[in-house]
C-alpha cells in the first residue's frame, strides 16, 4: 500500500543518507535544511482535519527549521570557516554503510513495536528513528563543530517526527516552545563557534582537549 506521506518521508530518509556521505559543510547545511522543510510538512499529510491555526503553525515550523536556522549557520560559515570539510572521525563509506544498516534496523524495530494510530503511513517511525540516530552519528563521528551542530539539528528533526506519531491535539503552543528552545540553542552554539574561531582560528573540536583528569 502506498501512502502520500511515505513519498515525502522517503525524501527525508534519502537526505539522511546524503548527509552521511557529504564531505563539505555547505552541502550538509542544504541537506539538513531540506530535511527540516520535509519533516515539518509531514503533519499536513497525516492529520485529517486541519485548522487554519495549525497551518500557520506548520508554516512557522517550516520557516524556522528549513530556512532561518540553516541560513544562520550558512552565514556563520561564510564569516568564520576557512576549512569547509566536516573532518570525519569515521570515513564516508563506513558512515554510509552504517546509515543503510540503520534503516534496516529501524524497520525491524518498527515491526516489533505496537505503534498507535499511524495507520496511514508505513515509513513514519523507521524514518524518524533513522534521522534521529543519523543525527547522533554525525554529532559523534565529525570533529568539525559546525557539523556537530548540524547533527544536533538533525536529531531534533527526528524527534519532531516521532512527536507527530501521537495526537498532540491543540498543543501547538507547547510545540512552539520546543521550537523556540531549539532556535535559541542553535544561536548560543553559533555564538560559541564564533568565539572558538577567535580563540583557535579553527572550529575543530580537537582543540578542545585542555580539560582532563
Amino acid at each position: 500500500m502506498l501512502y502520500s506521506v511515505d513519498t515525502v518521508l522517503s525524501f527525508a530518509l534519502l537526505a539522511s543518507l546524503f548527509a552521511l556521505g557529504s564531505s563539505r559543510l555547505p552541502g550538509l547545511i542544504k541537506i539538513v535544511g531540506f530535511q527540516g522543510i520535509v519533516v515539518s510538512m509531514v503533519p499536513i499529510f497525516i492529520e485529517h482535519n486541519i485548522t487554519s491555526s495549525a497551518v500557520t503553525f506548520y508554516m512557522f515550523t517550516m520557516t524556522i527549521r528549513g530556512i532561518i536556522i540553516p541560513l544562520a549557520i550558512y552565514l556563520l560559515i561564510k564569516k568564520i570557516a576557512i576549512r569547509r570539510e566536516v573532518q570525519p572521525i569515521i570515513g564516508y563509506h563506513a558512515s554510509l554503510f552504517a546509515g543503510l544498516m540503520l534503516i534496516v534496523a529501524s524497520s525491524i524495530i518498527n515491526h516489533k513495536l505496537a505503534l498507535p494510530a499511524t495507520t496511514n503511513s508505513v515509513l513514519l517511525m523507521p524514518t524518524a528513528i533513522t534521522i534521529l540516530v543519523t543525527g547522533m552519528f554525525i554529532l559523534m563521528a565529525r570533529r568539525n563543530a559546525i557539523a556537530m551542530v548540524l547533527g544536533y539539528l538533525m536529531m531534533e528533526n527526528g524527534i519532531y517526527l516521532v512527536g507527530t506519531t501521537f495526537s498532540m491535539g491543540t498543543h501547538h503552543i507547547v510545540e512552539f516552545g520546543i521550537l523556540l528552545d531549539v532556535l535559541a540553542g542553535v544561536m548560543i552554539m553559533a555564538i560559541m563557534l564564533e568565539n572558538m574561531k577567535q580563540k583557535f582560528d579553527d572550529v575543530d573540536t580537537a582543540f578542545l582537549s585542555e580539560l582532563k583528569e
Binding site: 554529532l139 544536533y152 520546543i178 560559541m192 582537549s209
Partner: protein, 525 residues
C-alpha cells in the same frame, strides 16, 4: 503570584543587559529579595496558578522553589563583592590588560548579571511546571541561560567547558524529550484521555501502556540524568563547575541539579502509581551507585579543589538517586540530602571563590595553611566539608542514615554494602585533600615565614629598628589581604546555619510538604 515569579526575573534579566553594571549589581540583589519574599508568600498562600494544564503548585516543586529563592538571594549578595574583586584583580594584572581579557571580562559582567536573572526565571518555571513538555522546555531553557555564566572568564578552558556543557546537555535533554513523547504515546496506546501533565498522568497511571511507559522512563532518566550529573553521563559537570565563576558554580551545583532531579522524581511518581516502582527503582539505584563509585575514583586523585567539589556533587546526586530508587523512607532521606546538599555545597563553592581570589590558583598543591591565611573563610570551608562528608550534626548524615536504613529494611544488602563502603572511601579521600588545603604547608606561608625569620634575625642583631617594625606590619596586612570582605563570608555562614537549624528544628509546614512529596512513593513505613 506565579506569573510574577517567572516573568519578573526574566524582564529584569533583559533590562540588565542594557543598564550600567553597577546598577545591574543592585538590581540583582533587589530581584533576589523580591523573589524570596514572593516564594515565601506562595508557600503560605498556595494559590491556583494560571493555565492549570501547564502549571501546578506541587509539594516537591514548592520545596525546590524555596531553596532556589534562598540560595539566589544569598548568592546575589556574595556576587556584589565577588564581581568587584574579580574586576580589580583583572585590572591590576598587566598581562590581562595587554591581552584584552580584562576589558572583555568587564563587558562580560553585564551578560553575567542578565543571564543569571534569566536563569532564575527558567529555574522557577521548572519548579512550577506540570505539563511534561513545558517542564522539558523549562529545563532546556536553564541550559541555555546558564551557558553564558560558565563562559564568564573568556578563556580557552572556559570555552571548552561551555561547549561541552551545551552540547552534552542539549543532546541528553533531547533524549528526555523523546522520553516525554513516549509517555504521551503510552497514553494513546492505553487510550487515556487526559492532559499530558504530571499530576493528571499520576492519577491515571494504571491505564497507561506499561511498555511505552517503561521506555519513556528510561529515556527521561538518561536525559534528565545527564543534566543532574549521574554517571556515566556526568562528563560535562566537573569542567563546567570548575570553570564557571564561583557564584555561578554555586547556583549550578546547588539548584540546577535539583531542577533536573525534579523531572526524574515526578516521572518516578507516575511509575509508582502505575505499579512499576520496582522497575524504576532498580534503574535509579544502579545509576546512583555508578555515580557514587565514579565520584569516589576521581575524588581520591583530584588535583583541583573546585573539581573536587564538583565530584562531590556527583556523589551526592548519586546518593539522592539511590535513595529515591529504594523508595519509602529512602525517598525521605533523599529529599533531606537534596535540601542540605544545596545549602552546604553552594556555601562551599562560594568559599572556593574566596580561595581562588586569595591563592590565585585552583590547584590543591599550591594552596595550604588556610586556617592561618584565611581564618574566616576557613571556618565556612571546614564546616561545609564536615557537612558534605556526612558528619552527624548536619542533615546529610541524617539523610544518608535514613537511606541506609531503608536499604537494609527492603533487603538490598549488597547495594547497601557497596553504598557504605564507597561513602567511606570518599570520606577518606575528601578529608585527605581537605587537610592539605586547611593545614598543609603553603607557599604564601613559607614566604611570610622565611621573611619574618630574616626579620627576626635582623631584629636580634639591631635590637630595635623602626624600619623593620614597619615591614612586619606590612606582612601582616598582606596576610589579611587574602581574606575577603564580610559580604563574601556571611552568605556562606548563613547557608550553613540554615542547614544546621533545619536539622534540629524543621518548620511543620516544611515537614508536611516533604511528607506529601514522599507519600506518593510508599511513604514512611
Amino acid at each position: 503570584m506565579v506569573k510574577t515569579l517567572i516573568i519578573l526575573p526574566f524582564i529584569a534579566g533583559i533590562i540588565a543587559f542594557f543598564i550600567p553594571k553597577k546598577a545591574g549589581r543592585k538590581l540583582l540583589v533587589a530581584i533576589g529579595l523580591i523573589h524570596l519574599i514572593a516564594s515565601i508568600l506562595l508557600w503560605v498562600e498556595r494559590p491556583t496558578p494560571p493555565f492549570p494544564d501547564y502549571f501546578a503548585i506541587t509539594p516537591e516543586g514548592l520545596l525546590s522553589l524555596l531553596v532556589i529563592s534562598l540560595l539566589f538571594f544569598l548568592i546575589s549578595i556574595y556576587s556584589q563583592g565577588y564581581l568587584k574583586a574579580e574586576e580589580q584583580h583583572l585590572l591590576s594584572d598587566h598581562e590581562n590588560l595587554i591581552s584584552n581579557t580584562g576589558i572583555e571580562t568587564i563587558k562580560a559582567e553585564k551578560i553575567f548579571i542578565g543571564s543569571i536573572l534569566i536563569f532564575l526565571s527558567t529555574m522557577t518555571m521548572v519548579t512550577l511546571s506540570d505539563h511534561i513538555m513545558v517542564m522539558w522546555i523549562a529545563i532546556e531553557a536553564t541550559t541555555l541561560a546558564s551557558a553564558p555564566l560558565i563562559y564568564f572568564h573568556r578563556t580557552a578552558a572556559s570555552l571548552e567547558a561551555t561547549w561541552k556543557y551545551v552540547i552534552i546537555c542539549s543532546v541528553g535533554i533531547a533524549m528526555a524529550l523523546l522520553g516525554s513523547i513516549f509517555i504521551a504515546i503510552a497514553m494513546d496506546v492505553g487510550q487515556v484521555n487526559a492532559p499530558v501533565s504530571f499530576s493528571a498522568l499520576t492519577s491515571v497511571a494504571k491505564h497507561l501502556d506499561p511498555i511505552w511507559l517503561k521506555t519513556g522512563f528510561v529515556f527521561i532518566l538518561v536525559g534528565y540524568g545527564t543534566k543532574m550529573g549521574l554517571a556515566p553521563m556526568h562528563t560535562w559537570l566537573p569542567d563546567a563547575h570548575s570553570e564557571a565563576p564561583s557564584p555561578a558554580s554555586a547556583l549550578l551545583s546547588g539548584v540546577l541539579l535539583n531542577c533536573a532531579y525534579l523531572g526524574i522524581f515526578k516521572t518516578n511518581k507516575i511509575m509508582h502509581e502505575a505499579g512499576l516502582g520496582d522497575f524504576s527503582g532498580n534503574i535509579l539505584m544502579t545509576f546512583g551507585l555508578i555515580s557514587i563509585i565514579a565520584a569516589a575514583t576521581f575524588i581520591l586523585k583530584q588535583t583541583e579543589y573546585k573539581r573536587l567539589l564538583a565530584y562531590s556533587s556527583i556523589e551526592n546526586m548519586g546518593i539522592i538517586a539511590f535513595g529515591t530508587g529504594i523508595g519509602g523512607m529512602g525517598v525521605y532521606g533523599a529529599l533531606l540530602c537534596l535540601i542540605h546538599h544545596s545549602l552546604i555545597k553552594s556555601s562551599l563553592f562560594l568559599t572556593s571563590g574566596n580561595m581562588l581570589l586569595g591563592y590565585g590558583t585552583k590547584l590543591i598543591k599550591e594552596t595550604g595553611n588556610m586556617v592561618k591565611l584565611m581564618p574566616k573563610s576557613f571556618v565556612a570551608f571546614f564546616a561545609g566539608f564536615a557537612g558534605i562528608a556526612g558528619f552527624p550534626p548536619f542533615g546529610i548524615f541524617i539523610g544518608e542514615f535514613f537511606i541506609i536504613m531503608a536499604a537494609f529494611r527492603s533487603g538490598h544488602f549488597v547495594a547497601a554494602g557497596i553504598f557504605i563502603l564507597t561513602l567511606c572511601i570518599i570520606f577518606a579521600g575528601f578529608s585527605n585533600q581537605m587537610m592539605k588545603i586547611s593545614f598543609g604547608p603553603s607557599d604564601h606561608d613559607n614566604d611570610t615565614a622565611n621573611f619574618s625569620k630574616i626579620q627576626m634575625d635582623k631584629i636580634r642583631s639591631y635590637r630595635v629598628d623602626i624600619h623593620n617594625k614597619i615591614d612586619i606590619g606590612k606582612i601582616s596586612t598582606d596576610k589579611k589581604h587574602m581574606e575577603q570582605k564580610l559580604s563574601m563570608i556571611l552568605p556562606q555562614y548563613l547557608l550553613l546555619l540554615t542547614s544546621i537549624i533545619l536539622c534540629f528544628w524543621m518548620p511543620d509546614s516544611l515537614y508536611q510538604t516533604i511528607m506529601n512529596a514522599v507519600a506518593s512513593m510508599g511513604g514512611l513505613k
